[in-house]
Amino acid sequence: MARRGLSTRRALEQHTFPPVVTALIVLIALFLGVYLPHLFPRYDFLDLPLIIVIFFSVSQRSPMAGTFLGMIVGLAQDLPTNQPIGINGIAKSIVGYAAASIGLQIDVDNPLNRTLLSFAFSLLQSAILFGVRHWMLGMPGYRGLWLHELIKAGVNAVVATPLFLLLDRTRSDS
């Protein structure tokens, strides 16, 4: 009975997006991620690709889709950098999976929930990146700046809420 109720709720609230629109939004987010720091040096607080991964994962409510989307976005984000490819891929794969899994349990259309989710997942990504860089790769001299990460999470949460409302217009209701 519980499973039927769950699949019924999923059938009612699961959203789909045209693949082209998804790809375009991801590309725009990646492009803005590399171009805006050139105009605004403090832009590195904002992680647009992360916000996009969270949005699509909670909207589609499919852990597998969220995992793959996070992996692709993370790998694409690693390519223009000086770092080995896979650091952001690992972090965003986990974030995509977690976001989709939580999307099955709570109402993710509520703006307050969206803000809190964005804040929490931004911190989760920071923790994963710290783990990968510090323990997996042993980057010399790398120290997590937790105040910086808190501010980053706050900025991402503030930007995510109105951005989610804008991106809601791109979904094709199932």
């Binding site: 720091p37 990968v132 860089r133 120290r143």
Partner: protein, 391 residues
């Protein structure tokens, strides 16, 4: 009944994805200095494709922004341009004069250094480039510029601005390149403290502050000391500005060395245009003769004066030298007139007497080649000022 794989499908997919990416990371990482190593062929191909997707819109937006800015500055914001132009021309003339003097000193320095068989590299050729984008990551300090291999760029070329060094080219694609900034954690440069002449290695850090490592504590180092490139890394020519010392503190990770943080001379956060050094030369190029007219005459005069001052008290070859016999007191020799310079064995334009007297020189007159006097055995007196007898 669901199988194990169907029941935990999502988790297993996540584990598989993470495993693949971890293996991919492991194949890229080579200890101890993995970030400085070149990518493998397949990795470079992926970066090339991503660069091909991101570079065109970056270039388009940058060029559009510059076009709008040029339209503003070129047509709308032209107030006080004429006055500014006159002031700049005057300043340029002053700088030309100074440049001629400095070039002369540099040539002299070069002659002395060549005697010591010391050779350093001078900037010979540069390519100007616009910054069109960045890496987008706060831990990876990489810029994209709009020049690539088709413009003569190669990996490991120095990138500078008039204020100071910026970094070096890392990945070079056909029409764009990646520049690794000096404050990136994988960047490094050989530097020297200008005052104390202490050599060190400049390294970036994860928080974006460059610092000099491998220097022992030294009380001669003070905040505000200038840091320049040493040329030892064979990438940055010697003498380019790096920055100034900001703080000096013990390095907790590398005892007993100090961590000297540097404030970069170039504003690494707001770079728009950079110069890529594509060629260096061992000698200074000669300044074109058309740019040196009166200035060269002034420099020549100064050089001959210096030579005359540095060779005082020599006897003329034709003059009999008084010989003091044992037991006799030496006869004091009173030189007549000012100190005379011995005639040069291989006279050139810097030899005494090769240039016309100062009273005969006219600033701004076209340069006339003065032939060096042939070496003679007769004494050659230095030019004496004409004395005007009062009536």
């Amino acid at each position: 009944m669901e199988s194990f794989f169907q029941r935990y499908r999502n988790g297993l997919v996540l584990i598989a994805v993470l495993l693949v990416q971890t293996i991919a990371l492991a194949t890229q990482v080579r200890r101890p200095d993995y970030a400085g190593r070149a990518d493998g062929h397949h990795i470079r191909l992926l970066r090339l494709w991503m660069n091909a997707i991101l570079s065109p819109p970056e270039k388009l937006l940058t060029n559009t922004g510059h076009g709008l800015r040029n339209a503003w500055h070129g047509y709308i914001d032209l107030r006080h341009t004429r006055q500014q132009n006159l002031e700049l021309k005057s300043e340029l003339a002053q700088l030309h004069l100074r440049e001629a003097a400095i070039a002369e000193d540099a040539r002299q320095d070069q002659r002395l250094r060549s005697l010591l068989e010391f050779r350093q590299q001078y900037v010979s050729k540069t390519v100007a480039a616009q910054v069109i984008g960045s890496s987008g990551s706060d831990l990876s300090r990489v810029l994209n510029i709009d020049k690539g291999s088709r413009d003569g760029l190669r990996p490991d070329m120095a990138v500078i601005t008039p204020d100071g060094i910026v970094g070096k080219t890392r990945n070079v694609f056909p029409t764009t390149s990646e520049v690794l900034l000096i404050n990136d954690s994988s960047a490094g440069a050989g530097v020297i403290l200008e005052n104390t002449r202490l050599r060190g290695i400049l390294r970036g850090s994860t928080n974006g502050v460059p610092q000099i490592v491998n220097l022992l504590p030294d009380n001669r180092i003070h905040p505000g000391d200038k840091v320049v490139t040493s040329g030892g890394d064979r990438i940055f020519p010697r003498g380019l500005a790096v920055g100034t010392v900001k703080t000096i503190a013990p390095d907790p990770d590398h005892q007993p060395y100090t961590a000297i943080t540097i404030k970069a001379a170039a504003d690494l956060e707001r770079l728009e245009e950079v110069l890529v050094i594509t060629e260096t030369a061992a000698d200074l190029k000669a300044i074109p003769a058309s740019e040196l007219t009166a200035e060269e005459a002034i420099a020549t005069k100064r050089a001959s004066e210096i030579v005359a001052e540095h060779l005082p008290g020599l006897h003329d070859p034709g003059e009999a030298v008084p010989v003091t016999k044992p037991g006799e007191k030496p006869v004091p020799v009173t030189p007549e007139g000012p100190a005379k310079a011995a005639p040069a064995l291989h006279p050139d334009r810097y030899s005494p007497g090769a240039a016309a007297p100062a009273a005969d020189l006219t600033p701004g007159a076209p340069h006339s080649t003065t032939s060096a006097p042939p070496p003679t055995s007769t004494p050659h007196h230095a030019a004496t000022p004409k004395k005007e007898t009062p009536e």
